[in-house]
Amino acid sequence: MTSLLDDLLNGLALGAVYALVALGFVVIFKASGVINFAQGSLLLFGGYLTAVLHDDLGFAGALAVAVLATALLAGALDRLLLQRGEPDPRMAHVQTIVTIGVDIVLLTDLSRRIGGDLLSLGDPWGDSVVTLGSVTVADSRLAAIAVSAVAIAAVFALFRFTPWGLSLRAAAEDTEAAALMGVRLSRVRMLAWCLAGALAALAAVFLAAFPAPGLERTTGQIALKAFPAAILGGMASPPGALAGSLLIGLTEALVAGHQSDLHVLGEGFGDVAPYAVMVLVLLVRPTGLFGAKGAARV
């Protein structure tokens, strides 16, 4: 029983961290129809900045600079690289491929800088833990749960209650009509990319904090685990991203915690499990848990 609670709590905490990354995927997808494969290296960029700056600026200062810089970088990527020429939703596929290229360039440079190091981000939680009855959970993970909840609520509110959110939803619904109504598509899009960049830098803190040992060159790859989470959630829905992330986190923790009971399925099933869950969910709900029903009438 204790171990089950342990696994559940681990899974929730892990899911909360993935949610921050998945939210980045969702915001970008909703605004531009692009699946941003460079999200992982943006995350690494933000984490790296926090790591090198925290000695001089303190953790909060370094994080603020990193969040801002990553947001600017993501916005600039969209504005200068992806939005060449007339905005055209049919170009989203091409732009998705471009993000793969961007990812390679960013990742190569950051790996070169990080090398074999494990960088500390100077977060305030250290290795302290909270014991709740018989289970323990790291402070950093509790913080992750809180921050994710706030971030997701904020993004949800931004979508729903701000003029920008309205424009974004209008553009997502019908790009052409939105443009005719005077929505400045390129600015709406760029702001969405900035937001995703900021979320990536924030996620880096929790991916590198205890129980992980610090930021290393592969930290960006971990972000890819949020991929099935975003797809599960329907790709365009912030609450969906949260639900998908929690599901993936729980799956991973439960499978890893019961690895020895799952020998029938072969070793290392934990790596496959998130994708297995994703496929199962998509079989039942092809548009994801919270995906919009694609009404295609003939």
């Binding site: 171990s3 342990d6 696994d7 681990n10 899974g11 905490a13 892990l14 790996s111 070169r112 090398g115 074999g116 190091d117 494990l118 500390s120 250290g126 290795d127 302290s128 833990v129 323990t136 790291a138 205890f210 129980p211 992980a212 040992p213 610090g214 290393e216 060159r217 592969t218 930290t219 790859q221 971990i222 991973e252 923790a253 890893a256 915690g257 019961h258 690895q259 020895s260 070793e267 290392g268 934990g270 790596d271």
Partner: protein
Amino acid sequence: MNTTHSRHRTAAAALAGALALLLAATGCSSKADGKGSSDSADGVRTGPGVTAKTIKLGALTDLTGPYATLGKSIVQAQQMWADETNAKGGICGRKVEIVVKDHGYDVQKAVTAYADIAPDVVALPQVIGSPVVAALLDDIDRDHMLTFPQAWAASLLGKDSVQVIGTTYDIDMISAVDFLTRTKGLKKGDTIGHVYFEGDYGANALEGSTWAAKKAGLKIEGQKIKATDTDLSAQVSALRKAGVKAILISAGPAQTASLVGVAASRGLRVPVVSNAPGFAPQLMKTPAAPALAAMLNIISSAPAVSSDLPGVRAMVASYKKKYPGSPVDSGVLSGYNAAELLGADLKKACASGGLTREDLVKAHRSQKNADTGLGTPQDFSDAGSPASREAYVLRPDAKADGGVVNAEDAHKAPGVDEYLSTRG
């Protein structure tokens, strides 16, 4: 009609031209692949990589990828060895030169780099990366290129021209189990957790631990992980549930830090023993440092860089002088040691009258007790057996060079001989 014809003709001509080029290219490379040997003026048989004046060695290293720190240490240490050797007059009347190629831990780049330098070098005292070595194994074997990889999986044994220096991962884990039962009070019926990487490294380590555990009446609870797993909370939960009395880990430094940090924070304060690649001096700067110092031991076939072996002390002193500011880590020691061993092989080959690759491999395999004074003596006579069966036990110490100090001197764990004989 006419135009189609001429187009056909052009195509045919182009094809013929391309074929001719291809033939010429392969013709060139067959000349350069090093089969032919000749006698130089001093009567020593020479082949690729050796002229009357120089001996060229190659290094396929990682200076821009994940193991850049390690790669730099090895390159610098081996260059220092080459400079020292040349200052003493070289080997066989020839200057030693090392050609360094960076592959950034990319197998494809490494294969290209090998093809690039192979015709011009006689041996490779450094190849970083298990996947790189695995990809090059056949080429190295075909070219009789004496190679010292920076990898210790038993699957690399059995090739005449490939030499794993020291013990293999399985032997180290047998030593680890012996260390646990001998000094940490583990007894029959206890369970040991073993967290290991997928792939050759982890599989080989698990083979050793499983054998030793069975021998000692212990049970192994395995947890397979990947290099991208850096939060081992779930693994620690599972190990705690299994009631482990100790944990073995065969992974990277990041995993060791997470495992020990999480285990300590959850009150699972059991001894943890790691393979050598599972530790890096940088770990002592992470929040897990106090837990590491309290719980971790490392099994290594090389002594700590901070050990008081006279050979090691002298080497470290000259390294610090030559490269002030560079960290002195285990790569410095293993790189320098590999170069020393190769130097001994070259001298022996020279004494028997030939410096071709075949001569060098033969000379290498005749070394039954190669002792550089930098660790345990090595027996290279049997390509199918590990070169050494003795391992050191180290423990972390933030203040020492390389972040570790010797906890136990090198010794052979009981059972190692039996294990190797049963494995054949």
